[in-house]
Subunit: 352 residues, 2 copies
C-alpha cells in the first residue's frame, strides 16, 4: 500500500469507542484517515482524535467505501446487521460485540496469544473477546504454555463500566445517595431504600453491594457472561476440552475487571517459575509482593494497557494448581486496546 490505510470506528461516541479514540492518539500511528461513525443521535458531534477535531458521520453502507479496517464497538444486533455490509464494501471488520465470536469461521484474536489467526478470515470478520475473558486470558496463556492448562475455576469482580456509560452514571448517582453522615449497609433494606429506582442497567443496587449476576440467563442457571468466558477461553487457547467454571459478579468499581483464578495444569507447578513466566510475558505486569501491599487492584490498573497479575500461590492441596488474581482495564485491554491491536495486525500483515 502506498498511502496509509483508512480506519473506521463504528460506535465512536460510546464508552469503548471513546477510549479507542484516546488510544489512537497515543499509539504509534499506522492510520491515514480515521472515520468516526455513530448512531443518528451522535451524528455531527466532534471528537478529538490524534490532535484533530473529527466530525462523527452516520452509519450508512457508503460510510465504509474506501475503508481498510472497520472497528465495531456497538451492541450485538448492530454488529450482526452492519458488519457484513462493511465487508461487502471492502473493509476488514474487527468486531467487539458478541455477534460473531463463537462462529467457526470467525477467529477470536488476542494479539499476545494467537496473532497468526488474523490471516484466516473467510468472512472478512475478526472478533474481539469479552472484556472479562480478555483481562484474564492474557495472564493465563503464558502459564498454559509453561504447564499445559486443564481446568479453570474463576470468580469475577466486574466494574460497572462493563455495562457502558449508563452503568457508570448509575453507580455515581447511587454513591451520592449512600455517602453521608449515616452509615448505610448495616441494616436490611437501607441501601435499597436509599438507592430507590436509580438501578440503571443493573438488577440491584451496586453501591455498598455485590451483585452475582452479569448478562442474561442462558441455561441451567448459567449467565451469558459466565458461558462467554468458558467458550471464548477454550477457543482462544485452542483447548476444546478445557474445563471452565466461572461465577460472574458485579462490584462497585468504575473501571477495572478483576478475576480470582484457580488454574489446574497437566504437570506440577512452582510459584516462582510461574512468576518468572509472567514477568516475561507480553501484555502482563507482575505485581506480587503482598507484604509490601502490592497486589493487582482496579484503582491502579485503570487507564493502563496490561493485565496486572499477582497473589500467585501454588495450591496447598494440589501441586498441579495455581491460585492467582488478575485485574485489567475492561475498556482498554478488555475492549478498545485489543481491537486496536487486531486492527494494527491486519494492516501490518497486509503491508508485508
Amino acid at each position: 500500500m502506498a498511502s496509509l490505510p483508512t480506519l473506521a470506528v463504528v460506535g465512536a461516541t460510546g464508552a469503548v469507542g471513546t477510549v479507542l479514540c484516546d488510544l489512537l492518539s497515543s499509539r504509534r500511528n499506522v492510520w491515514g484517515e480515521i472515520r468516526l461513525i455513530a448512531s443518528a443521535r451522535s451524528v455531527g458531534r466532534t471528537v478529538r482524535c490524534r490532535g484533530e477535531e473529527l466530525t462523527v458521520g452516520a452509519l450508512t453502507p457508503e460510510a465504509f467505501d474506501g475503508v481498510d479496517v472497520a472497528v465495531f464497538d456497538v451492541p450485538d444486533e448492530v454488529s450482526a446487521h452492519w458488519a457484513p455490509i462493511a465487508v461487502d464494501r471492502g473493509a476488514v471488520v474487527v468486531d467487539n460485540s458478541g455477534a460473531f465470536r463463537m462462529e467457526r469461521d470467525v477467529p477470536l484474536v488476542v494479539p499476545e496469544i494467537n496473532p497468526d489467526q488474523v490471516r484466516h478470515r473467510p468472512r472478512g470478520i475478526l472478533a474481539n473477546a469479552n472484556c472479562t475473558t480478555l483481562t484474564m486470558i492474557v495472564a493465563i496463556a503464558p502459564l498454559h504454555r509453561e504447564y499445559g492448562l486443564r481446568e479453570l475455576v474463576l470468580a469475577s469482580y466486574q466494574a460497572v463500566s462493563g455495562a457502558g456509560q449508563a452503568g457508570v452514571d448509575a453507580l455515581q448517582r447511587q454513591l451520592g445517595k449512600v455517602a453521608g453522615d449515616r452509615v448505610l449497609g448495616s441494616r436490611p433494606g437501607d441501601v435499597r431504600q436509599a438507592v430507590g429506582d436509580e438501578l440503571g442497567p443493573f438488577p440491584a443496587p451496586l453501591a455498598l453491594n455485590v451483585v452475582p449476576w452479569a448478562g442474561s440467563l442462558v441455561d441451567q442457571g448459567w449467565s451469558s457472561e459466565e458461558m462467554k468466558i468458558r467458550n471464548e477461553s477454550r477457543k482462544i487457547l485452542g483447548l476444546p476440552d478445557l474445563k471452565v467454571s466461572a461465577t460472574c459478579v458485579r462490584v462497585p468499581v468504575v473501571t477495572g475487571h478483576s478475576v480470582a483464578v484457580h488454574a489446574v495444569f497437566g504437570v506440577e507447578v512452582d510459584a516462582e517459575s510461574a512468576r518468572e513466566a509472567l514477568r516475561n510475558a507480553p501484555g502482563v505486569i507482575l505485581v506480587d509482593d503482598p507484604a509490601a501491599g502490592e497486589f493487582p487492584m482496579p484503582i491502579d490498573a485503570v487507564g493502563t494497557d496490561p493485565s496486572w497479575v499477582g497473589r500467585i500461590r501454588r495450591a496447598v492441596d494440589d501441586p498441579r494448581a495455581l491460585d492467582l488474581f488478575v485485574t485489567g482495564d475492561n475498556l482498554r485491554k478488555g475492549a478498545a486496546l485489543n481491537t486496536a491491536q487486531i486492527a494494527e495486525l491486519v494492516v501490518r500483515d497486509r503491508s508485508r
Copy 2:
C-alpha cells in the same frame, strides 16, 4: 440448674459484641444475669440489652466468678491470655478469636453441623470459626451430607466490618471523598489521591476498589484469612484431607461476606436436588431465581440470621461439581449469632 445461668460477654462494646447484645434481646431468653465486660476505656459505659441498661465492667479475674458461660469477642492475644483465667474461675468459654480454633482439644462448633462437640471440651474452651468460614460452611455442610465433599475452590467478597468498626469508619470517610460530581475511578491514581491517608485498617483504598488481601502473610504467598478458611473447613466438616483453595478479597460493602464456591463431590450432582437439600437445611435460606433478580446479596442478608445461598449450577464440564454463591451477615452468623448459639447449646446440654 435451679436458677437461670449467668452469661459474660467479653468485648461487649466492639463491633461483634454490640451485635451480640442486640441478638440477646431478640432470642429466646435462656440467661439469668448478663455481665458485660470490656477494656478499660469502655468501663462504666451503659449498653441496652434485653430492655435493661447494663453497665460495662472491667476485665478482671473476679469478673468471671459465678459465670456459667463467657463469650469472648476480643483480639487473639486478649483471648489467649484471659480465656484460661475465665475457665479457672468456673466458666465455659466460647471464643470468637483465632487463638484456640485449631488446637486439637478445642472443638470448633457450628451448631447446625456438629452440635454434639460442645460436650467434648477438655480445656473448657469452645471455638467459633472465622466469619468467612461460617458464612460459607453452613451452606456447604448439607451438600457434603448429600454428595460427599472432596474439594472447595473459593473466592470471597468480604465486607469492611470484618475488620471491625475501624473498617466501617474508614469506608464511610472514603465514600465521602469519592462521591460527588466528578466520576472517580476512571483514571489511574484518582481514587488513591482522593482517599489520601484515610486507609483505616486496610492496605489500600476500599472505595471504588477491591483489595485481594485480608489478614497477614502466612507462607508461600497465602494470607492468614485464606489458610483459616482451609483449616477450619476441614476441622468443622471432619475432613482432614479436604482440598481447599481460597482467595480472600475485601470489597466496599459495610456488612455481609459473600463467597463464590466451586465444590467438587464424590458422586454426580444435580442442581435441583442440591436446591432441595439446601431448602430443608437449618440456618440456610435459598434465593435462586436469577431471571426474577433473586440471588444472594449483602444488602439483603445484612441483619438476618441465615446464610443466603443461590446461583446453584452444576458445572458444565464436571458432573461432580456445583458452583454457587453464598452471602451471610459476618457479624451475626459469621460471629455473634454462632457464639450465642454455642453458648445456648452449652447450657441446654447442662440442664438435661
